[in-house]
Each structure stands twice: as structure tokens, then as C-alpha cells.
């Protein structure tokens, strides 16, 4: 008897081989076409949900064709379709018909960070009063931790502004449509205390600080990175805002070697 694994492998082949379908399923073989469509269109639907701004930028018809090509090229790796799409931005970057929109792949990266932020695990907010209990040595050695929903990226295009231009006008992040040649942006994506996915442009020093935190650098080094970018970086004010906004959600003390 053929093993279950072999039958399942054969089932997959049958989704694109009528001869294999006939061997496996006899008179019910024509039903296999329902699965071939489902497998691909479930992925296309998942991409449409995860990349709403890309979809608005290129329109439904272009998006569906691009997503279908991606669905064929990039198999899903999880039973949770909300995890499908991590490779879509790279696919967009190499998709020949999208070459006239050089910012599209980076717009897809923002969408993906937003999608991940939406589903990221919850994290308890952080009480800044805890910081006051640390002595000066401990404070300089501590490492701030970014929330599970936080994403950082840089782009040669104004993709944070582009994302914001596609939000409802009453959204806290709404802005007018940017001009593609207005320059690159440093992007922060996170989920705020009201569980809304947010996208912001960061100043160079702000990005340098959060990026260092994400790389698990201690406060002294993160601050140095920020001050290298801008001597006027205001640590106190920035920390207060990021802790309130649940961008920074915890800290740990660096274990000295």
C-alpha cells in the first residue's frame, strides 16, 4: 500500500496534472480543479489583506495579477495565513511590470510591518517610575526593549508619508500625498496604546536611538548613536513619548561580562 505521505504528494501533483488526478480519483478527478484555485486564491486573499496600501497604489487588477504571480512563486510555510507575505516585498522589487514604480517594494515593506504590528503579541506597558529606582551606574547599563509590534526601516522614498496618505482623513497619521521626489524617510511602525497600527517618520537621531535599542545596545551606546546624528537630541522628551506610545515597553540591565 502506498503511504499517506506519497498519496498527499500525489494529490499536490494532481492539482496540475489531469493524468495524475485520473489515477488518484477516477471519475471524480475533475473536482481537483477546485483545490488548485483555492490554494492560490487563499494566498492572494492573504496578500490583499496584508498589503492594503500597495493594492491602492496599483489598483485591484494589477495587484491581483502580481499577487497571483507571487502566490505561485512563494509557497506558504504556515497553517496560519496571516503569516504569509514576508517575501512579498522582495517579489515586488523583482517583478518586471512593477519596475516603473521604484518605491512600490518599500511601500510593501511598510505594509508588512503594519500587518505584523497588527497581529503582534500583546505586551504590558511599562511604568517609567521603575527607572527612578535605578542608580546612575545601573541606568547607564540598561538596555531598552522595543515592543513586539515595533518595526523600523529606511527607504530612499517617502514611504511613511505615502502610507499615511492612504489612511482615513480622521486618522492620527493622515497626511497629504507626498511627492515621490521629496526624498527618503526613516520609518517607525508600531501599535499604540489603543491598539491602532501607526506609522511615523523619524528624525535621524530618533532612528539611530531606536535602531540601537533594537540591536540590544545599552543606553549609553544608543545615546551616542543618537548624538552622532544630532547633537540636540532630547533623550528625556523622546523616552517619555516612546514609553507613552508603547514603542519602548521594557528594559533589562546589561549583564556585565
Amino acid at each position: 500500500m502506498r503511504s499517506l505521505a506519497m498519496l498527499q504528494r500525489a494529490f499536490r501533483e494532481a492539482t496540475h496534472s489531469p493524468a495524475q488526478a485520473a489515477r488518484l480519483f477516477g471519475e471524480t478527478a475533475s473536482g481537483i480543479s477546485a483545490y488548485a484555485n483555492n490554494i492560490l486564491f487563499n494566498r492572494v486573499d492573504a496578500l490583499a489583506e496584508a498589503f492594503p496600501v500597495v493594492k491602492q497604489l496599483v489598483g485591484d487588477e494589477f495587484f491581483n495579477a502580481m499577487a497571483l504571480a507571487a502566490a505561485k512563486a512563494q509557497p506558504s510555510q504556515s497553517g496560519n495565513l496571516n503569516l504569509y507575505g514576508a517575501g512579498f516585498a522582495a517579489f515586488v522589487a523583482d517583478f518586471p511590470p512593477a519596475q516603473s514604480l521604484p518605491y512600490l517594494a518599500d511601500a510593501a515593506r511598510v505594509d508588512w510591518l503594519g500587518h505584523c504590528a497588527y497581529y503582534a503579541v500583546d505586551h504590558a506597558p511599562f511604568d517609567p517610575a521603575r527607572l527612578a529606582t535605578l542608580d546612575a551606574d545601573a541606568q547607564s547599563a540598561l538596555c531598552f526593549e522595543l515592543g513586539p509590534a515595533v518595526g523600523l526601516m529606511t527607504s530612499a522614498w517617502p514611504v511613511a508619508s505615502l502610507w499615511r496618505a492612504h489612511q482615513p482623513e480622521d486618522s492620527p497619521d493622515y497626511n497629504d500625498f507626498p511627492s515621490p521626489d521629496q526624498g527618503g524617510e526613516r520609518v517607525l511602525v508600531w501599535r499604540d496604546a489603543r491598539r491602532r497600527v501607526r506609522v511615523m517618520r523619524l528624525l535621524p537621531a530618533e532612528f539611530a536611538f531606536l535602531d540601537a535599542c533594537q540591536r540590544q545596545q545599552p543606553l549609553t551606546e544608543a545615546l551616542e548613536c543618537a548624538l552622532d546624528a544630532d547633537m540636540d537630541f532630547d533623550l528625556g522628551l523622546s523616552l517619555q513619548r516612546w514609553i507613552n506610545d508603547q514603542v519602548i515597553v521594557n528594559y533589562h540591565e546589561r549583564v556585565t561580562p
Binding site: 488518484l24 473536482g31 509557497p75 504590528a117 500583546d122 491598539r195
Partner: protein, 277 residues
Amino acid sequence: MSLTTLPCAAGIGLRPPHLRQVLDECPAAAWFEVHAENYFGGGASLAALEKVRVDYPISLHGVGLGLGSATPLDAAHLAQWQTLIERIEPAAISEHLCWSALEDETLNDLLPLPYTEDALDWMVARVEVVQDILGRRILIENLSSYVRFNVDAIPEGEFLAELARRSGCGLLVDINNLYVNQHNLGRDARAALDALPADAVAELHIAGFEVREDGLWLDSHGAPVCEGVWALLDDALARFGARPVLLERDRNLPEFDALLREAAQAQAALDALKVAS
């Protein structure tokens, strides 16, 4: 622990577009079922479900575990299940008699198993593992299917009955799926009902299907429940007794009030049973 603490009443499949309205209006639904994977992780959806569960019993229905896949179980997926069960404390948890993954690709569809001794042994072992990890019994749902394997050796009802007997799992009997399979594959829906052990049947599903151009019935959950399925539901209730009945709708999602009206028809079928007995 019993198979389910859901009430023997009509529940509704709750989809994300209706969450807000349910929270705001507290409609007269007996219970809700949600797709577990939509609430993996955290954030706004899970927070909303945690509010819903205060007022309604919740059933968590998985669509992504692929229990019958001949590949290792996805430990991360199961860990998400565990976390969600702790947060929601559901009245029932369920998955499908299906497979969905090869070694190098997940197909994200509910794919039919061959009904062989080999596949039965595998399903029993996998259900046992999952029940051990989750620390409770699960309900397994019969599929709608568009193909039948030539190697099939066990009738569908017997396969499910034996799975329940050997693994201790409960059965979630999808009435629409039996009805669709009867048309597509020539399987006898009433014979399947007769083969199932009533004490293992813990929940029933009803839904609507669509007709493809070539006459194949597609279990799209995209239409109202048809007359034939209502009649088969009556037969199932007569055979098993009152059970929690769930109305599923995933595509062409109507206003929530339309689902309430359709669920009321299922409730009427349950009420008629009480009068008759």
C-alpha cells in the same frame, strides 16, 4: 472534561466585520464560533474577542493545523492555540478531518484524506498528541470534498466513528458538507449520520454552498442554507438529539441581522425537537 459546554442552541460564526456590532449591541445570539487563527498573536482583534467572551460562550474553530498532514505538527501553531485557549477559555475547540501541508509547502486548504486504515491510524495518533498538548478533548469536523480517492476503503461515517472511538475526540458534524458530498461524490449523507455514535457528536454545522458552472457544488459558505440542508439538519437532530448548531457564513457576508434571522430558523428546528419529545 466533557466534549463541550456549549448550549444546545443555535450559534453564529462570528467574522471580523461583525465584531464591532456584536460588542455595541449585544445581539440575542446563544453563542459564537470564531476561526482560531484570526486571533493568534494579540492586538485589537483578540482584545475584542476577550470582550465578546464575557457575554457569550465561545467556540474556537481551527482551520490551519492540518492534523492529517504526513509532516511534523507545527509546534509554533500549537503553542498559539494553547495561548488562545488560556485567554479565551472556550466552551469547545475543534479542527478538521483533513491534511494541508507537504514538507516544503503549506497549501492552506482543507484537503481530503484517503479513507484507509493507514490514514485512520495516523489521524488517531495525531488527535491523541494534540489532545495531550492542549490538555482537553477536541471536536473533529467532516469535510466537504470534491474528489474521492480510488484507494478509499472505509465509508466516511465509519471513519469518523472509529476516529472518535479510538482517540476519544468528539465529532463536529457538518450537515452541509454531508449534503455537498452526496451530490459531488455520491456518498449517502443519511448513511453517514447513521454510522456516527450519538454520544460523540458534540456540535453541528450548517452553511450554504454555490453551484459551479460544471455542476460541482462548492462549499463556499457564501450563500444562505438551502432547503435540503435544513431537512438533513432535522434528520440529524432526530438521530442525535439536541446539539449546539452553528450557522457558518464566510463569503458574501450579509448584514449581521440576516445571520440572526437564519440562526433563528435553526433554533426553531431545535425547539421543534423539544416539542416532539
